[in-house]
Symmetry: C2
Subunit: 424 residues, 2 copies
């Protein structure tokens, strides 16, 4: 099978995949925009719809106790191991149609593309119930259940209406007591996920697909400069303790360092000013900082530099700087064997192999605690995601389907993969 013939076969599947994403986009909590949070009523419509796609392909579909859609496409052999392929079904508010959903739809398409052919491993399509963390402020509820981390403590976690995760599960008609059965068995070989890049890197490089080699580690901190509020008209420049000017100097410092450190991203996305009036010098500014890199050491070193710079700026200006680290999450490498296999599959569909780091968190990050994981990113036009304007190119979806189908064939013929010996 060469690339040209693959393309002719898969174009129809790619069109259908995009139509299916749009169909799922219609299942929303909001009128006129997409919002589908954990176990919300439209999630039931998703299950019904996707089940109707999967059952004719020979998959047996269930919804586990954490609300994940699980569809098992059997292997040639009943005792064969299993490969998970999927993504998440929940969305942010005012979402696009592809973030998460496209990965689930493409997993279905890969089964379609097998045309009934069985592989030496079963394929389980997973549609995770919760990845975005919208309703409970805690992301990855679905994938946590697969690694045994949706525990009693987390189940007691409440949303803003004081409703716990456990209650939501029970009210939906599921049984929290059965969550342990959602955990993946020992014979799972790995997890593959297609996802839109959600950034401009692939578009900027003129590439359709990339293998994700790692999910970046992340530090979030809150920085406060405490100066002295004063009258903007009566306080000479040299007698000011201006928390806004200090913040500005620091933001520029952060940007400069991030720009000169390869692969580092550092973002000040919020600033609150007290008292916050046109004619009053800022007495206090509170800023958020988000720092990510694939190498924890580089990220930690940058964070240390940013904190020291804040202290220096504050000292030099007669202010105080306070820093609170709110998140310090290590980088998660993807499975090197799977990443290499993806490189090969990408090359086989006529694309230039490209590896990148995911700056965003994904379910693969959670599953990687237990099983080999890898992701394939699709170019995101304009880098726009979490927005109604989110989109994906039909040609790129064609390539993703071909790449995924080739990847399944490569893995099916890899004794190393089938025996699980690629694992460290």
């Amino acid at each position: 099978m060469n690339h040209a013939s693959l393309k002719r076969d898969t174009r129809a599947f790619a069109c259908e995949a995009l139509v299916r994403c749009q169909r799922l986009a219609g299942f929303s909590e909001d009128n006129g925009s997409i919002r589908r949070t954990f176990l919300s009523p439209p999630m039931r419509d998703c299950y019904r719809e996707i089940t109707a796609w999967l059952e004719p392909l020979g998959a047996s579909v269930r919804v586990d106790a954490a609300g994940n859609l699980r569809a098992l496409y059997p292997a040639e052999n009943p005792n064969a191991p299993c490969l998970l392929i999927g993504s998440h079904l929940d969305t942010v508010p005012n979402a696009g149609a592809y973030d998460g959903v496209l990965g689930v739809v493409l997993a279905v398409t890969l089964l379609q593309n097998l045309s009934g052919r069985r592989l030496p491993f079963a394929v389980e399509v997973v549609g995770f119930s919760e990845e975005e963390g919208v309703r409970f402020g805690v992301p990855f509820l679905g994938s946590r259940a697969l690694v045994g981390r949706l525990d009693d403590e987390l189940l007691a976690h409440c949303d803003q209406h004081e409703t716990s995760i456990r209650s939501v599960i029970e009210q939906f008609g599921l049984h929290a007591a059965e969550i342990p059965q959602a955990a993946i068995p020992d014979n799972v070989l790995g997890y593959l996920e297609f996802h839109i890049e959600q950034g401009p890197a692939l578009e900027s490089a003129g590439l359709a697909l990339a293998a994700v080699e790692a999910i970046a580690g992340q530090t979030r901190l809150e920085l406060t400069f405490v100066g002295r509020a004063n009258h903007a008209g009566t306080t000479p420049m040299n007698l000011r303790y201006d928390a806004m000017a200090a913040a500005a100097e620091w933001i520029s410092t952060v940007e400069r360092r991030a720009k000169r450190t390869s692969g580092l991203v550092a973002t000040v996305g919020t600033i609150l000013v007290k008292p916050g009036a046109t004619n009053v010098i800022a007495g206090e500014t509170r800023l958020s900082l988000d720092v990510r890199h694939k190498a924890d050491q580089i990220r930690n070193s940058a964070v240390g530099y940013f904190i020291r710079q804040a202290e220096d700026i504050a000292r030099r200006r007669g202010l105080r700087a306070r820093c609170k680290v709110q998140l310090d999450q290590r980088a998660v490498p993807m499975d090197p064997f799977l990443v290499k296999q993806i490189d090969e599959a990408i090359a086989s569909v006529g694309c230039e192999p490209h590896r990148m780091v995911s700056g965003a968190g994904h379910d693969a990050m959670i599953l990687a605690e237990k099983i080999p994981c890898a992701m394939i990113f699709l170019r995101t036009p304009g880098g726009i995601s979490h927005d109604p304007a989110e989109s994906v190119e039909l040609e790129d979806v064609v390539k993703a389907i071909d790449c995924g189908s080739l990847l399944l064939d490569q893995l099916a013929s890899s004794p190393q993969f089938l025996s699980g010996t690629q694992r460290a």
Copy 2:
């Protein structure tokens, strides 16, 4: 009379003045903090209290149709001209006890200190009803009435409850139709105002008093940087259109230029960020800029520079900058003759004469349209005003009273002043 004897006589008056400020502070709309806006119920208590201080001194007291307290202390001669002395009685929310009020109280003290002696000019003590602009967003309502600018258009201006200035006046029991009678007659020689500096300059220079030579001109503008919101984790530094980073660069530019321009103050006191999330690059920032200087040409040149810099920064970063000038108010010079007289009076009480520019607006700015005006600033501990911690030193009040009394004597013996020939 030498300085030492003056001090002994006036210390008791200074103590009483401070006690009177505290007494007026008790007349508040709020429990536990000071707020006294235009024609609010506690304003009636102020009128009653101040009237009770003034009538025994031989002054005839009225409240004009704009709510200004007007107390006429007659001259030696019934046809003599008149000098206004005063300040405002309204306050900001959570105010201190001295801003405005001290100037009215000291005007009363100057009459006390005359011990019944009449001058070749009448003295009218004025307690302006509205200077801060809290309730209607428009300041100087009281002094506008004195120069004939509290007109029908302004009277129709409404507060946030859709109540017009005219209604508030009528509801208080005053008659808007009589506002023309609040205007000052042609025989007014000038206006003097004592006011706390509201800034740290005098304290920093180790001085008690200063003559205000001008009220700074002021530009207020709103600047918006429009970039592109994007994912903080997935957007490389070189592919960002970060409105926060642009804002930071501009704030630093503003601060640098203001620091190197003598007498210029420039303040970014507010910033609003959209969307304003830790993990989202800012797509838009909206900032306020407040620029003041005694020379309009220097202020305008700085404002032009700030706007050009914003445009340059935006262009270089691929953003757009939008600028909206919200206020462009010329500087108002104080009367040179009166300023010189104040210099002399300050020197006579043993202080170093010092001139300064008021960065804040004052009623004197409005009255200067019609009559010679001058102000005397008192050192403000910590530069703190518009705050419950606002204070003033007893010793400085003693000096202010002595200075004011000497100034009245100087003016009483100045044929130039009495004939009004000092005016341009």
